[in-house]
Every structure is written in structure tokens, then in C-alpha cells.
């Protein structure tokens, strides 16, 4: 009788995953990814010169997969706090569909393939920028800032603002003022957008111990910050027209949409109690998504119209 047979070995049954493809797609944060794809598409479209459709598709695909990888890595690192918040409790990790190591491996694999494919097939400036975007979102925002400072989404917003810059670099192999303007628009859009969300989800964030501004500084201070950042956002989004980078159609659209943002931000600042306050923040949150989409869509439509009928514009 061998030693092994003498000793009863307790074999703990290994966990067999029942996660399906939908769970892994959920790890990619498809809604965030769709906004990333759209802003990257605009960055690619407004870039000068001709980009072959196959290379354009490759660039957008890599940026989208890179964004998805960031989402998966973010969920792998935040499984503990996601379980405490009603907004995120249904994600695959809190539900026990995917383990954190599985999500980590999934995210790392996608990040590697996205960066390498963009670098090899398109150019290494775009590849390096994509790698930096993923690094910034996962390490700087998720690991360092999110649980440490109320400025988490202000600084971390840089990661969400980079996709059009990556796309421009993919198209041109260089950087210029235009993609930086797009970066600044998304960068200054992030605080009012996320703080509006945080205002009506502050209980969630407080329960999870995430130091979002309404939790740390209170709702009134957050309302003031939303208003101040909205002023900066509207000015930043308007500036490219007088500076001569984008044309009048964009400028007027920016003014109209900016007026909408200002009205809603003032409403959030003034209405501080009860149902009206909650309604005002939800309205600003919803409109902020439309604002960014419409602003970038204007640039995209201009490019398409100019390509089809150059004399119209």
C-alpha cells in the first residue's frame, strides 16, 4: 500500500465555469464601448488624408477591444465594490458567473491583442496610445484614484477622452490640435456627467466606500462643481469654431447644445430638495449623453456631407 493510498486526500472539486458568451460580453461594458467606438470614429473621420477602409476598420476594432479589455480589468479589480452597489450588482462577477481571475485573464488577453494588432497593422504611435489609455484606466483610475480621492473621475476621465486621439494617431501617424480639442471636450464633459449620476446614486457609493464628490463633500458642493465644470465644458466645446478648427455649423450646434447643458446645470444647482432635485439631476445626466453624442455627430455629419457634396459646405 502506497503512502498516497494510506492518506485520504480530500480532493476539493474544482469550480467549473457556467459562464456563457453573454457574461463575457457584459465584462466588456458594451454601452461604454459604444460611446468609445463613436468618439473614435469621429477622430478617425476628421483626420486629414485618406485612410483605407480596412485600416480604418482595424483601428476602430482595436480601440473597441482595448476599451472592452479596460472594462473587464476594471470589473476584475472592483468585484468587491460592484457587489455592494445596486447599479453594478448584476455584473458577471458579483453574480458569481465569472471569477475575478477569469476576468483578469480575459482582460489582459484582449488588451495584449488589441495593442499589438493596432501597433503591427496600423502604427505604433496609435498602439502605444491605446496601451497608455488601458494603463491609465486600469492602474491610475481603478487602482489608485477611485478609492482614494473625490477627484477620481476628473483625472480618470482622461482615459475616456483618449479614444479619438488614438483614432487620429491611427489615421495620420501623428498628433495635432484637433484630436486634443476632442480630448478636452470629453475630459470636461466627464465631471458633470458622472457627478450627476453620483448625486442620485450617492447611497450606493457611500455603501461601497467610494469617495465620490457627493459622498465626501456633500450634494451642494457637488452641484456647484457641476455648474463650474459645465461652464468650462461649454466654453471648451465652443472654442474650436472661433479658433478656426471646426466650422460654423459645429459652432452654432455647440452653442445651442451648450445652452441646454447650462440650463440643466443651473437647474441642478438651484433645485436642492425632494423630487424636483432628483428629477433635475436625472435630466442633466440623460442630456449630457445626448450632448456629447450630438456634438460629435455634427462633426461626423459634416465630414460625410463634405465627402458626398463638397460644394454644400
Amino acid at each position: 500500500m502506497s503512502v498516497i493510498e494510506n492518506n485520504a486526500i480530500e480532493l476539493s472539486s474544482p469550480r467549473i465555469s457556467e459562464a456563457d458568451v453573454a457574461d463575457y460580453i457584459a465584462l466588456l461594458k458594451p454601452r461604454v464601448m459604444s460611446l468609445v467606438i463613436f468618439t473614435a470614429l469621429v477622430g478617425l473621420a476628421i483626420a486629414p488624408g485618406h485612410v483605407h477602409p480596412v485600416l480604418a476598420f482595424t483601428s476602430i476594432l482595436c480601440i473597441a477591444v482595448g476599451a472592452g479589455a479596460s472594462g473587464a480589468l476594471n470589473m476584475a479589480l472592483e468585484g468587491d465594490i460592484d457587489a455592494l452597489m445596486s447599479r453594478t450588482a448584476n455584473r458577471p462577477i458579483p453574480r458569481g458567473r465569472v471569477t475575478r481571475p477569469e476576468a483578469l485573464a480575459f482582460g489582459m488577453t484582449l488588451a495584449f491583442f488589441a495593442v499589438m494588432t493596432l501597433g503591427i497593422l496600423v502604427n505604433w504611435i496609435a498602439g502605444a496610445l491605446l496601451a497608455f489609455t488601458i494603463f491609465f484606466y486600469v492602474v491610475i483610475y481603478t487602482l489608485l484614484l477611485k478609492r482614494w480621492t473625490a477627484q477620481n473621475i476628473v483625472i480618470g476621465g482622461a482615459a475616456g477622452a483618449l479614444p479619438p486621439v488614438v483614432a487620429w494617431a491611427a489615421a495620420t501617424g501623428s498628433l495635432s490640435v484637433e484630436p486634443i480639442l476632442l480630448f478636452l471636450i470629453i475630459f470636461f464633459w466627464t465631471p458633470p456627467h458622472f457627478w450627476a449620476l453620483a448625486l442620485f446614486r450617492s447611497d450606493d457609493y457611500a455603501r461601497a466606500g467610494v469617495p465620490m464628490l457627493p459622498v465626501v463633500a456633500g450634494p451642494d458642493a457637488t452641484r456647484l462643481q457641476i455648474l463650474l465644470y459645465t461652464i468650462v465644458l461649454v466654453a471648451t466645446a465652443f472654442a474650436p469654431w472661433p479658433l478656426g478648427y471646426f466650422d460654423a455649423v459645429y459652432g452654432v450646434t455647440s452653442l445651442v447644445l451648450g445652452a441646454g447643458m447650462m440650463v440643466l446645470a443651473i437647474n441642478v444647482y438651484r433645485r436642492r430638495e425632494g423630487v424636483e432635485a432628483s428629477r433635475a439631476t436625472r435630466k442633466l445626466f440623460a442630456f449630457s449623453i445626448f450632448y456629447l453624442f450630438a456634438l460629435f455627430a455634427t462633426l461626423l455629419i459634416e465630414v460625410v456631407v463634405h465627402a458626398i457634396a463638397p460644394s454644400v459646405w
Partner: protein
């Protein structure tokens, strides 16, 4: 010892088999897309495929 049965090993449930099959198909599709992508870009770039400016 002779009448002692060997362990049956891990027997997957139907749900586990189904999800594993789904995941395998998704991985195969993703790899297929990657191959097609590299082929298409090689065709587009022609001899210039090896020229990759920094």
C-alpha cells in the same frame, strides 16, 4: 483494494457543457477574425506591410 472503483473524474453537467461549447465557438470566431484581419491588411498594404513607422 481490488474492489475499489477508480474515480469517475469530473463529469460536466449539461449547462457546463453548453457554456463551454459556446465559449469555444466564440474563441474560434475571434481567432478566425484575427486571421482574416491580418490577411486583409497584408493584401491592402502589399509589400509595404513591413514598413511600420514609429
Amino acid at each position: 483494494m481490488a474492489d475499489r472503483k477508480l474515480p469517475d473524474g469530473i463529469v460536466l453537467t449539461e449547462a457546463q457543457k453548453k457554456s463551454r461549447r459556446q465559449r469555444s465557438i466564440a474563441i474560434a470566431l475571434a481567432l478566425g477574425i484575427l486571421v482574416v484581419l491580418f490577411f486583409a491588411v497584408t493584401m491592402v498594404k502589399g509589400p509595404g506591410v513591413l514598413v511600420r513607422p514609429m
